[in-house]
Symmetry: C2
Subunit: 512 residues, 2 copies
């Protein structure tokens, strides 16, 4: 037996992490590359995961007082030009609509050419601050109209030269919250409130431990006063920015002329925020939990939490087994996990047992139950957990299964979080010298694909363009919020690159 | 008192139906015109209605065996060219992306111009048959891979020269189902199954009575073999095409090369269908149920089914009343309507009573409950129903309210459907002569804005281009499915325009 055949995914993480990632996506049928530069097709299994994520987060966004709405896909060029930093940040990646119809080229082959040139081109939204600002300027007259707390679920487009499924795609899907407030204080509170929502959502739904923090100036959203973010560590030690929340000050209110009469009757510019998470989270999910047998899903976002695989050699067996499976499914569906009925499927396709088994392993289904004719006679089922080695199975009675199914799901949900957290802690280190920093990000431990991790270093803004960072392809990920990384909190110090004063340690990492 | 002040919406339906529609949309804060040609901003109240519709229909689509997925927004021009009729049908309304970045024009004013010209332009999807076909061609190898039953919720764009909010907008929102089958029979069954789903959804959720039928050849989807549709009658007698389901034969399978090995090992082209409903349904909802006081919502799609309005003149009163309102709200939320907990809101804003009252009337909230200090002492509430005259109120005890709230919601839901059905029947007539046809579509009854309605006429395809239809702006809406309009079923006859043989009466109407 060759080494490769021990795993359902080839190459393994250790052999080639980036290629392993693509093979996991493919094997789980999550997404395909589209015949459109940098875009993806999200396949049903991938989309079902996204729907569960959307529903979970949407409820949290609504529970914190926000409502959904929907703004146009296209943005007039002149809108984008209004905020100088903003347009600078996005101009290089905008898809531009210049015509509004097609006509025959006259080549006799039915070839079409763009026609009906637009007076003013549009860009497909890369983000919606400017187009939403236009509405807010109309809707807001007085302080009584504030705050406005709106979110939208939308597709956006940023032309991507080095696309990777979920992580970087030209078209991607997200929610973008846009709020307007009477005071600076209230807008900052909103920015931080949504950062907390993201932290809670990624932790409790996706089992992703994240560090919340502030971005250094070079990593801010174009046009923001402050950008906060959540940063997760992937299994190769790289950081993934998993969500951002921006305090925009009055910059966009000034650009879009969002003014209001305050309580004293004076005209003021509103204070705005924006915040978003994207389909990139699916990439983060994959790279945090999956293993060399494929996708591993936290039960809360598993479209099927339990799959039942009937096994039978002849028609009569199959029929009896299938009936038992259906009964089992009905009973399991009455059980609850996290306040919702269990999601249970039966796979009754006529495939070879091994093929079917591995199909669900690769798709990350948390619990697999096999039932054959002999199990049936003995009232037993054969159970496999996706958080344990794939070939490990335990036998239990139907009654045991009923009482333990949602307990096991809970164990898997919390177990994945603990494992990811332990991994992060293991690859996080305080670093105070250039030598150690270089060593940390250059060497790979024996039998591991991990290069580096989170380096916690004292730092000063003067070091932003330091050549060592470019050389190692490492960047400041965030200035952690107090209490997030206790191990980083040791007071003031000196920047390890410049020797200048530093208020606190910040997180450095390679990143996606 | 002037006549206008009797109604919350001006003009009334009778005075100016198209303008009344726009004023209802505005007064209910459903949508705004966007600063992008023909596009709209769907405001929170309008979007909440759409979310309820989406959730309801999505469940029905899933319950019939379909799964959701997501395909790219952009379509390469060459894909569109593959199906001749299809491209012919959409070329005149395509938004075309020709560049992938912006650069400074060099005018020193920060003006931007498109740059990075694409080798092959893309269009923003007007519909997704061709781009989805590309994936299906890859995914389908054998008959074992069939059927494929996929739906997507998406935004699409068809450049619109005469836009109207919800009814015709350049960007609109819809679900588009795309399925591929082994046999012609199965594909036709799928097409009709989804037509039934649409009929059921519009009837049971939106209280819209629709006629299901087949389109005449001139009204078919470009590239379809047969188009089925659901047609609703608005309060001005015009028809609204509220959804379509297309049997595409093998046309698109041939264009996209979707082939499979059949059970005999022969290569065959798959049989495909597509079907969709759009945000246009919100327009249909408004024009079917609303009145001269504004929007009227069927409770199933009302974001708030009950609004409680506390009334109090001084601070002490207000506090006591508000507490009672909160208790009432909690109790009502324990009640159920159509299997879901009641959606109840309290509007505690400090507005004048009349202003607040009309605000909720215009937004179409089914039940309004007012509570003042005196009601509180007597244990009473003052209740208004949106399906009754706005000033009509009844007084009842809290206990009565608890037992009758969901009963009343049910009455409103079914009452709206009955009323719409009666209206349609009243404005549907069998017509056998050109004179009567002309009279039906030219005159307006006294005190009514209704011109025409549904004319049930014998008809032959040879009459498609008849000048009378163009003159009266009337078109064949559909060939009703058997049993849909019993009043139309009187066997064979002669086309009222050409005298040629006719198999059955079909529906003619002016349309949106």
């Amino acid at each position: 037996m060759t080494k490769q055949s021990l795993h359902a995914i080839s190459p393994t993480r250790e052999e080639n992490y980036p290629e392993w990632y693509l093979q996991v996506v493919k094997a789980a049928e999550l997404a395909d590359n589209a015949p459109v530069r940098g875009c993806m097709v999200i396949r049903p299994w991938g989309y079902a995961i996204w729907e569960l994520m959307k529903n979970g987060l949407d409820k949290m966004i609504k529970d914190t007082g926000h409502v959904n709405a929907c703004f146009p896909l296209l943005i007039p060029l002149s809108f984008l030009e209004k905020e100088a930093e903003h347009v600078e940040g996005f101009a290089k990646e905008c898809a531009v609509v210049t015509h509004h119809r097609l006509e025959s080229s006259g080549d006799g082959k039915g070839t079409l050419v763009p026609a009906g040139k637009l007076e003013e081109p549009y860009v497909i939204r890369p983000t919606s601050e400017t187009i939403i600002g236009h509405s807010y300027a109309k809707w807001i007259q007085s302080w009584r109209d504030l705050p406005i707390l709106i979110n939208q679920w939308a597709n956006v487009m940023r032309w991507e030269m080095r696309p990777r499924l979920f992580l970087r795609t030209s078209e991607f899907f997200w929610q973008e919250g846009h709020t307007a407030h009477e005071t600076e204080k209230e807008a900052i509170e909103e920015t931080l409130k949504m950062l907390d929502v993201y932290e809670e959502f990624t932790r409790d739904w996706l089992a992703l431990p994240v560090v919340t923090g502030r971005k250094t100036p070079d990593e801010r959203f174009p046009g923001a006063v402050e950008t906060w973010c959540i940063e997760a560590m992937m299994q190769d030690g790289k950081a993934l920015q998993a969500g951002t929340s921006h305090f925009l000050g009055q910059n966009f209110a000034k650009a879009s002329d969002i003014t209001f009469l305050d309580r004293e009757g004076e005209t003021q510019h509103a204070w705005t925020t924006s915040w978003g998470v994207t389909t990139r989270l699916i990439g983060g999910l994959i790279m945090t939990h999956s293993d060399d047998d494929g996708l591993v899903l936290p039960p809360r976002v598993a479209p099927e939490q339990i799959v039942i695989l009937p096994i039978g050699r002849n028609e009569e067996d199959r029929q009896r087994v299938l009936e038992a499976c259906q009964q089992l499914k009905s009973s399991l569906q009455e059980q609850q996990f996290m306040g919702e009925k269990l999601r249970v499927a039966i796979d009754a396709r006529e495939l070879r047992g091994g093929e079917k088994f591995w199909y669900h392993v690769k798709r990350g289904v948390p619990l697999r139950i096999e039932i054959g004719p002999r199990d049936l006679e003995q009232g037993l089922v054969c159970l496999g957990r996706r958080d344990r080695p794939s070939r490990e199975k335990v036998t239990m009675s139907h009654a045991e299964l009923m009482t333990s199914a949602s307990v096991m799901l809970k164990e898997i949900q919390t177990g994945l979080l603990s494992r990811a957290l332990a991994f992060r802690q293991q690859h996080t280190r305080k670093i105070d010298s250039v030598e150690e920093f270089r060593e940390f990000f250059s060497s790979t431990a024996e039998g591991s694909s991990v290069q580096g991790g989170f380096a916690l270093c004292h730092w000063n803004e003067a070091a932003i363009d330091h050549p060592l960072l470019k050389e190692l392809k490492v960047s400041p990920r965030c200035i952690p919020v107090a209490g997030q990384l206790p191990e980083a909190e040791d007071g003031e110090g000196r920047c390890f690159l410049t020797g200048k004063p530093s208020l606190q340690r910040i997180v450095f990492a390679k990143s996606y």
